[in-house]
Symmetry: C3
Subunit: 135 residues, 3 copies
């Protein structure tokens, strides 16, 4: 069973989708199974990160921006803007798919874990995420 | 079918769990299927690495420690200790979930592959890993 | 259901396997399900990247080669050649497994997404990839 989630993103950063994914799991009515989240893009990605203190996510994003700066003189793929090539690199270093067990009808996330779409481009847009439930 | 493994970790480093995951696969009695391993934490992660020469794992860990040093002046998330924010970054750069096919009742790992919990924090503790088997 | 794909690689770089994986999905005849791709090696990995402009893949590869250079004086695992230890690190930073939903009998990849084996070693060889289909 698959469901598509459209995630509006205001720009670069981590946007939580734990609630949306959990809603798909509830609707599926599966007691024990597996939930796989997949993002249909190469300049945005997925991550599971701490959901408590927003400073951890801000530091994470700043750190990765410093590791993969824009306007790297070695880049040749520059036609789609200075934030495009760094976005592809950041996507390769993080996740396109995540699989989370379903236990007793719920996502078996740890206490401090949230599921995030990590938008790497600077513009406002909508990202498509597919949620697959198997049992 | 889901099973929970408690992994005692003496501190930072890669701790092999191939045997524990394989035991869950054997108990499940599935001939052909998929085994998904998920870690319920954001300051430890999972990786598949060479299981033969421990120097490869030592070099891997040292390399990542150098890439993500503690006490980075840009960090604002510092209340949980100097090893906490680097741990979240390292977790984002590695894996929260891994899926390995089951072929003829066994994990279809390559000859040199082992499954590891990668503890990023310095203290002794216990990490929770969930193993899902589907067919 | 599992199928093994042998991927001949001429050397370092991204080698597309979207066609081979799609063929396994077609043969499986599953309308809605999940396709998991797993690589049985620790010095090559998997990634989903832009399939349109080859300059993006070239920049990605060059960037990672610069991040993880050969002949790092800190390396101790050097017996298997100067490209071996960087390969293990690159594999840890990218993916050993990828899971892609199957929707209406087809891989639900985004328009610009391709599935690639990322060979990190310099020599010609063959890599083994297992494709699992579940529903």
């Amino acid at each position: 069973m698959n469901a598509t989630i459209s995630v509006p993103v205001p720009g670069q950063g981590l946007h939580e989708i734990t609630g949306e994914v959990s809603a798909v799991v509830r609707q599926a009515g599966v007691a024990d199974g597996l939930c796989t989240v997949f993002i249909q893009h190469t300049s945005a990605s997925l991550t599971i990160q701490e959901n408590a203190d927003p400073s951890a996510r801000a530091d994470l994003e700043n750190w990765l921006n410093r590791l993969v700066p824009e306007n790297d003189p070695a880049f040749t793929h520059t036609m789609e803007g200075p934030d495009d090539m760094p976005s592809h690199i950041k996507a390769a270093l993080t996740a396109a798919s995540l699989s989370i067990p379903i236990v007793e009808g719920r996502l078996a996330l740890g206490t401090w874990q949230g599921i995030y779409v990590w938008e790497h481009r600077r513009h406002r847009g909508t990202r498509r995420v597919i949620v697959n439930i198997s049992n």
